[in-house]
C-alpha cells in the first residue's frame, strides 16, 4: 500500500491550526496530529480502493462479464446479480456517493445513486410472445433511479464486496 499522498486543503488547514496552539502542548499535539494524519490517510486509501472496486464491478456488470465480477466478491456465491439488471450507470443528478469505513477499517458501506436498466422477459404464454422471443426480443426494458447499497469487507488486506442491493430512491 502506498504511503505517498498529496496534502489536501483540509490537511493544510488542520496543520495551520496545530501551529496556533501553545508551544507547551506542541510535542504531544504533534504526535496526535501524526496519528490523525495516518488514520485519515488510511481512510482515504480505503475509500479510494473501494471506489476502484466499485468501478471495476460496474464495468463487469455492464459488460455482463461474470469472470470479471466473481473475484470481486468475498463469497463467490454472492456474485449472482439480479438477472433483470442489464446496465448500471452513475446518477449524477442524485445525491453524492458516500463511503463509510468502519472504525476498525475491516468493513465499509457504500451508497451510490444510480440509474438501472431493468429487463423483464415477457412470459411465453401466447404465439406473439413466443415469436418475439424467437427473434431475440421478448423483453421489456425500463430505466429506474435506484440507490446502490453495497457492503464491503476487508479480506487479507484487500477490499471485497459482501453484499449488493438496489434500493428505491
Amino acid at each position: 500500500m502506498s504511503k505517498n499522498t498529496k496534502p489536501t486543503r483540509r490537511s493544510f488547514l488542520k496543520g495551520s491550526a496545530l501551529l496556533a496552539v501553545p508551544l507547551a502542548a506542541a510535542a504531544p499535539a504533534a504526535v496526535i496530529a501524526e496519528d490523525q494524519l495516518k488514520a485519515r490517510l488510511a481512510r482515504l486509501e480505503d475509500e479510494a480502493a473501494i471506489r476502484d472496486l466499485h468501478q471495476t464491478w460496474l464495468r463487469g456488470v455492464n459488460a455482463r462479464a461474470a469472470d470479471t465480477v466473481r473475484p470481486l466478491f468475498a463469497d463467490p456465491k454472492s456474485t449472482r446479480l439480479d438477472q433483470t439488471v442489464r446496465t448500471v450507470a452513475a446518477d449524477h443528478a442524485g445525491q453524492p456517493d458516500t463511503i463509510e469505513v468502519s472504525a476498525d477499517s475491516e468493513s465499509a458501506a457504500g451508497q451510490f445513486p444510480c440509474t438501472v436498466e431493468i429487463e423483464t422477459a415477457i412470459p411465453q404464454d401466447c404465439t406473439l410472445a413466443r415469436m418475439a422471443h424467437a427473434q431475440g426480443s421478448g423483453f421489456v426494458r425500463r430505466i429506474e433511479r435506484r440507490v446502490l447499497k453495497v457492503e464491503y469487507v476487508k479480506a487479507s488486506g484487500a477490499w471485497a464486496i459482501a453484499k449488493v442491493e438496489f434500493a428505491p430512491v
Partner: protein, 585 residues
C-alpha cells in the same frame, strides 16, 4: 367448366417429401451444365467478358462468359468449372444464376454496371435437416478493376422496402401479390398457382442497390423450401429474378424470370425516423457467431404439440380455464384490455342462430352465466367476461364444457340492432385434434323488450381486406395484422427497434358489425392451433376479444385487448373479386 384454381391442399397442409441428398443431386444433375430455364430471352450482357467479383468476408468469383449461356467460374482461385447460366438485365443491373455442376450449390449474382458493385447470393441444398430447404448466404462486393482501388460503397441491407406491396406477373404467367410488411420476412399470395385464397410467409432479405432498385429474397421455409430472389425497380415496377427449389410434386423449379407489376400501396414504418437499417432480426443469439447461412426462422409446426382426440379429451378433463387471472394462459395478450361490462348481469336472452341451435342464456352476474341449447332440459354454468366495444355492442365469450368437441363461443351481440354473430371454436379437427376449427354463426337476439329484424344480419365483408393495423397488447408485445386476403391474415412481430420482424399467417374471416366495427377471427393452423377472435373498433382504435387454445397445458379461453394504430392499406380487393373468386362479397 374449367374447374377451380384451388389446390387439393394449401401449402401449410402439404406433406412435402423429405428428399434425400441423393435425390436432390439427381434432380440437379442436368441444370449444372444446362443452366436455368427462362421464358424470356436471356441477356448476353457479359458475353465474351471476364469478370472477377471480390466479396467482403466471402468468396472471390472469377467468371469468363462464353458467347451463349455458358460460363467458366473459379471460386477462390480454385479450379475452373464450366457451367450453364441464365442472365437477365434490368437497367444497369444484371442478375445471373448458375449451379456448380456435380454439386448441390449454386449462385445468384447481381451486378450493377454503373457502380461495379455486386451482391453474391450463395445457395445450397442439404444444409438443414429438411434437405429440400434452400439455404442462402449473402456476400457484398465489387467487380475488381485492374489497377483501381476497391470501392468503399457496397449494396447493403435496408428497411427501405418495408411496408411496400406489389402485384407481380411473371413471364411464366405466375401471378402473385407480394407484401413486405417486415424488414426480415415477407408475405405472398399465390393468385394463379393456388387461387389466392390464403397468404403465406417466408424469411426474406432486402438489399438496396440504389434508390430505385432493390434485391429481394424469400425462402419458403416450413413449406417447399423453394428460394426466390429478384431485383425490382420500384418506379418502373419491373423485376428480374430467379427461382430454385422443388414443388409439391418434387419437380425441380430452376428458372430465371422477368415480371411486371402494379404498386399496391405503402404501409407506415414504426422505426425511429432516420433508422434505415435492414436485417433487424439478428441471425444468432447475442454473443454468438452465426453459422454460414444462419437466420431466425419461425418454425411453428416444429414446436406445436400434436395431440390425438383422446389426448385432447384427457387434457380438457384435467384442466380447462376460462379467463384465468393475470398470470394465466395468454395473459400477455390482455395487457391493454379495456374495462369489462356487467351489463348482461341479471338478463335472460336467447341467441337464435340461422345455422346452428339457438343458445339460451341466464346471466347470473358479471362473470357467471348459464347456457343451454334450445330444447335441452338442464343448464350449464360457465365463467364469462364481456366488454362493450361500442355503445350497445357487447362481446362476450365462454366455454361450452361437456360438448363433444370442447366448444367455445366468442359472441358479438348488437343490442341496438338485435343482431348477433358467434365464432364457434371447436377441437377434434382433422389434422391435429388440438388445433382449433371455427364456424361462423349469424343470428338475432331474442329478449324482453327487443324486437329483432327478420332478414337483416351481420355479414362477411371485404372492407378490412388490404388494411394493416398494429396492436400493442402490452409493453414489449406489439404486432401488426395485415388483412391480405378475404380469407387469411398475416401477423408481424415488431423487434425492439420497432422494425417488422418475424411473420406468420393463417386462415381468417371478417364480419362487419357496424361502420368502423369489425369482428374477425384467425386460425393459427399448423402453428399453435389457437383461434383468435377480436372486435376491431376503428373509431377508438382499440380491440377486444378472446383467444381459444388447447395444448398440453389444457384448454383455455383468455381475454385479448390491444391499443391499435392504422398502418395503411393496400389496394387489393379488386384482385380477389376479379382474379380469384369472381364474386362480390
Amino acid at each position: 367448366m374449367t374447374g377451380t384454381p384451388y389446390p387439393k391442399e394449401q401449402m401449410h397442409r402439404i406433406a412435402y417429401t423429405k428428399l434425400s441428398e441423393e435425390q436432390i443431386a439427381s434432380k440437379l444433375s442436368t441444370v449444372g451444365l444446362g443452366g436455368p430455364a427462362s421464358a424470356s430471352p436471356l441477356s448476353n450482357a457479359f458475353a465474351g467478358e471476364s469478370v472477377r467479383i471480390v466479396t467482403d468476408k466471402g468468396p472471390t468469383l472469377a467468371y469468363t462468359f462464353g458467347p451463349t449461356n455458358r460460363l467458366s467460374v473459379t471460386v477462390n482461385n480454385g479450379g475452373a468449372v464450366e457451367a450453364g447460366y441464365g442472365a437477365l438485365t434490368l437497367s444497369s443491373v444484371t442478375l445471373l444464376s448458375h449451379i456448380i455442376p456435380g454439386t448441390q450449390r449454386g449462385y445468384a449474382v447481381v451486378i450493377d454496371r454503373d457502380t461495379s458493385l455486386a451482391t453474391v447470393i450463395e445457395l445450397w441444398f442439404s444444409g438443414y435437416p429438411d434437405n429440400r430447404e434452400v439455404q442462402r448466404e449473402i456476400y457484398y462486393g465489387y467487380i475488381e478493376q485492374p489497377g483501381q482501388p476497391a470501392p468503399k460503397n457496397r449494396q447493403r441491407t435496408t428497411n427501405r422496402v418495408e411496408g411496400k406491396g406489389f402485384y407481380w406477373k411473371q413471364d411464366t404467367g405466375a401471378e402473385t401479390l407480394e407484401f413486405y410488411p417486415s424488414a426480415a420476412y415477407s408475405h405472398f399470395v399465390e393468385l394463379s398457382r393456388l387461387g389466392g385464397e390464403l397468404g403465406f410467409c417466408g424469411p426474406s432479405d432486402y438489399i438496396q442497390i440504389n434508390d430505385d432498385l432493390y434485391i429481394y429474397t424469400r425462402t419458403e421455409c416450413e413449406f417447399s423450401g423453394t428460394f426466390t430472389t429478384y431485383v425490382m425497380d420500384l418506379n418502373r415496377i419491373e423485376q428480374i429474378g430467379m427461382r430454385l427449389g422443388f414443388d409439391a410434386n418434387d419437380a425441380l423449379e430452376y428458372y430465371v424470370f422477368r415480371g411486371k407489376g402494379e404498386w399496391l400501396g405503402q404501409l407506415a414504418h414504426f422505426e425511429k425516423f432516420g433508422d434505415e437499417t435492414g436485417a433487424p432480426v439478428p441471425a444468432a443469439a447475442a454473443g454468438e457467431t452465426p453459422a454460414k447461412g444462419a437466420r431466425r426462422v419461425y418454425r411453428p409446426l416444429k414446436t406445436m404439440p400434436k395431440m390425438s382426440e383422446a389426448e385432447v379429451d384427457a387434457v380438457c378433463a384435467k384442466k380447462t380455464t376460462a379467463f384465468a387471472p393475470a398470470s394465466g394462459p395468454g395473459a400477455s395478450m390482455a395487457g391493454n384490455l379495456g374495462p369489462s361490462t356487467g351489463w348482461l348481469a341479471g338478463k335472460t336472452l336467447t341467441l337464435r342462430y340461422d345455422n346452428a341451435p339457438a343458445m339460451e342464456y341466464r346471466f347470473d352476474d358479471a362473470e357467471t352465466l348459464q347456457w343451454r341449447k334450445e330444447g335441452d332440459g338442464s343448464w350449464t354454468k360457465a365463467r364469462y367476461q364481456a366488454w362493450e366495444s361500442m355503445p350497445g355492442v357487447i362481446l362476450f365469450g365462454h366455454l361450452l364444457e361437456g360438448t363433444p368437441n370442447h366448444d367455445g363461443h366468442s359472441v358479438v351481440a348488437d343490442f341496438h340492432q338485435g343482431l348477433v354473430t358467434c365464432f364457434n371454436g371447436y377441437l377434434n379437427t382433422p389434422y391435429f385434434a388440438n388445433e382449433a376449427g371455427v364456424r361462423t354463426l349469424f343470428g338475432v337476439i331474442e329478449m324482453e323488450g327487443l324486437i329483432p329484424p327478420k332478414y337483416n344480419r351481420h355479414y362477411f365483408t371485404d372492407e378490412m381486406v388490404g388494411r394493416a393495423v398494429s396492436q400493442n397488447y402490452a409493453p414489449g408485445l406489439t404486432s401488426m395484422h395485415l388483412y391480405s386476403t378475404p380469407h387469411s391474415l398475416s401477423w408481424i412481430i415488431f423487434t425492439n427497434s420497432d422494425a417488422g420482424g418475424l411473420e406468420w399467417s393463417g386462415p381468417a374471416a371478417y364480419v362487419k358489425i357496424r361502420d368502423g366495427l369489425y369482428f374477425l377471427y384467425w386460425l393459427e393452423e399448423a402453428c399453435n392451433g389457437t383461434l383468435g377472435t377480436i372486435l376491431v373498433n376503428l373509431h377508438t382504435m382499440r380491440d377486444v376479444g378472446v383467444g381459444y387454445h388447447c395444448g398440453e397445458a389444457g384448454l383455455s379461453m383468455s381475454a385479448v385487448g390491444a391499443h391499435e394504430r392504422l398502418a395503411g392499406r393496400f389496394d387489393i380487393v379488386r384482385f380477389y373479386q376479379v382474379k380469384t373468386s369472381g364474386r362480390t362479397l
